[in-house]
């Protein structure tokens, strides 16, 4: 049972990041490999504002998200926009390069030491043999609220209709007057804000180290590939599934004989994808083909 709760916590975090990414991929057809670094920047900024400058936590979080949005916008202008119209695959290489630059900057400014936004004892609640802290509960709730709000906007508002129109037939949307170019930038920054939220989440629940970046990115992409590219809810679902598998892998006393070392947790995402590919090469809810 504790495993399930842990999975819920880890999954919520991954779902935020994967969700934002799925929308970007659906609209732009672009993979952003600097995503993990963007998440960390959100987390580190909040840490610095709260722990070093002693600003109130709420304000630190908001400013952390704003900083994440800003850096994501810069990412878009430098590593994506000049390239993705030319060829869809170029941003894959440029965002790798950009991720290295961000890694270097993070290391220079924040060093390799783990940083925790809320270090020290948390308010732990125990019931039915399950331990969960107040902070973790709030984080799961916050994620659900964010995802549900996004779902509402996406499916019920005029903005959401425009986003879906651009995904489904960009030229038709343009010829009706929908500003597709602006939407590209907006969605990309939104995915960065979601990632920053994920980073803040990690900083509160655990601690931040620069080495977390790539595993986060890989996990988010594993969820998208498993869910079928361009399928937002598939990606979110599989973010939770992968989190559950990771918890199972290292939490269960296999055959009563051994525990899998925690260092292998990352490998779960990879193995999961390979298994999915064996069964369904287009992902579980994959559409047959995107229009262009």
């Amino acid at each position: 049972m504790q495993l399930l709760v842990n999975a819920l916590i880890a999954g919520s975090l991954a779902a935020l990041i994967a969700g934002g990414l799925a929308v970007v991929y659906g609209v732009l057809g672009v993979f952003n490999l600097a995503l993990g670094q963007l998440a960390l920047i959100g987390g580190y900024t909040t840490w610095w504002l709260y722990q070093v400058l002693h600003l109130p936590l709420g304000l630190s979080i908001i400013l952390g998200l704003a900083c994440g949005a800003l850096v994501t916008w810069v990412t878009f202008e430098i590593a994506v926009r000049p390239f993705f119209k030319h060829h869809r695959f170029l941003p894959l290489v440029t965002t790798i390069a950009w991720s290295m630059i961000l890694d270097g900057l993070i290391l220079l400014v924040f060093e390799e030491r783990p940083r925790s936004i809320l270090p020290g004892l948390k308010h732990i609640y125990e019931f039915s043999g399950i331990r969960i802290s107040l902070e973790q509960g709030l984080l799961i709730l916050a994620t659900l609220v964010i995802l549900l709000s996004f779902a509402y906007v996406f499916h019920r508002t005029s903005l959401g209709r425009r986003i879906r129109a651009v995904v489904q037939h960009e030229h038709a949307a343009l010829s009706l007057g929908v500003p597709a170019g602006l939407l590209h930038g907006f969605l990309f920054v939104l995915s960065g804000v979601f990632a920053a939220a994920g980073g803040i989440f990690i900083g509160i629940d655990q601690s931040l180290t620069p080495t977390l970046a790539f595993p986060l990115t890989i996990k988010a992409y594993a969820a998208i590939i498993a869910g079928g590219k361009g399928n937002l809810w598939g990606a979110i679902l599989f973010a939770y599934v992968i989190a559950l598998l990771e918890q199972l892998l290292v939490g269960v006393h296999w055959f009563g004989a051994f525990y899998v070392p925690a260092g292998y947790q990352q490998t779960v995402a990879l193995l999961f994808i390979i298994v999915i590919l064996l069964i369904k090469p287009a992902g579980f809810f994959g559409n047959s083909s995107r229009t262009a």
Partner: protein, 244 residues
């Protein structure tokens, strides 16, 4: 009044001259057919007029405004509408949502002037006999129905100039006559229409004027009957020695 003026429009891509010095004017309310063999540049011309491609030379004036450097969505907001060869429909959205997107993209004042948006959506679907499918996903429609929806949606979005790219392609004969009726409706509302087509009888029936493109140039223009009987047209389509 010339609603559209095209001057010396040229486009070369990858070393190839796709459009070569295109010049023509379109009067308000005219229905003009654009015909020519495959590869003559018809769809490219529409892509340039829509704003998806930038010309290498030349200018485009719409309602006396130079729109050559305008983006596609800017041109749409000015009143240029496009119907696509490959069905510009949002397949995963319902028919209602498809119309809503078009109306919501209008500039604020014009949206307000429309009044109750939901009523306008209903009226649009009723105009083309698709009311009973309002809540269905647009991808479930037949080709002809999609085409009707696209034209109706563009009409209700208050466009003045309609660029119809092969509106009868992939459409049954029954639907073709419905589309012809819809285009006549456009004419009655004094809309200006450019149509790319291969269906010459269809063009003859509804167009006031025909422009013939070949290898990126205008080689012939005139009334449908004149163009149909011209020798040049025979040569372009069938070669120098057409079979009897």
């Amino acid at each position: 009044m010339s609603i559209l003026r095209i001057s010396h429009l040229s486009l070369s891509l990858g070393g190839q001259q796709i459009l070569d010095g295109i010049n023509f004017n379109v009067e308000e309310g005219e229905v003009i057919g654009v015909i020519g063999p495959n590869g003559s540049g018809k769809t490219t011309l529409f892509n340039v007029l829509s704003g998806f491609l930038k010309p290498s030379h030349g200018t485009i004036h719409f309602c006396d405004k130079d729109i050559t450097s305008y983006s596609a969505s800017e041109r749409a907001r000015l009143g240029i509408g496009r119907v696509f060869q490959n069905f510009g429909i949002f397949r995963d959205m319902t028919l209602e949502e498809n119309v809503l997107v078009a109306l919501e993209a209008l500039p604020k004042e014009r949206r307000k002037a429309l009044g109750n948006i939901k009523e306008v959506v209903k009226g649009t679907l009723a105009m083309v006999g698709l009311s009973q499918f309002a809540k269905r996903k647009a991808g479930s429609l037949s080709g002809g129905q999609m085409r009707l929806l696209e034209i109706a949606r563009t009409l209700k979005a208050e466009k003045q100039l309609f660029l119809l790219d092969e509106p009868t392609a992939g459409v049954s004969p029954k639907m073709t006559s419905q589309i012809a009726d819809l285009i006549s409706e456009l004419k009655r509302e004094k809309k200006t229409v450019l149509i790319v087509e291969h269906d010459l009888p269809f063009i003859s029936k509804i167009c006031d004027r025909v422009i013939v493109l070949d290898v990126g140039k205008i080689v012939l223009t005139g009334k449908p009957q004149e163009v149909k009987q011209s020798k040049e047209l025979q040569e372009i389509y069938f070669g120098a020695n057409p079979a009897d």
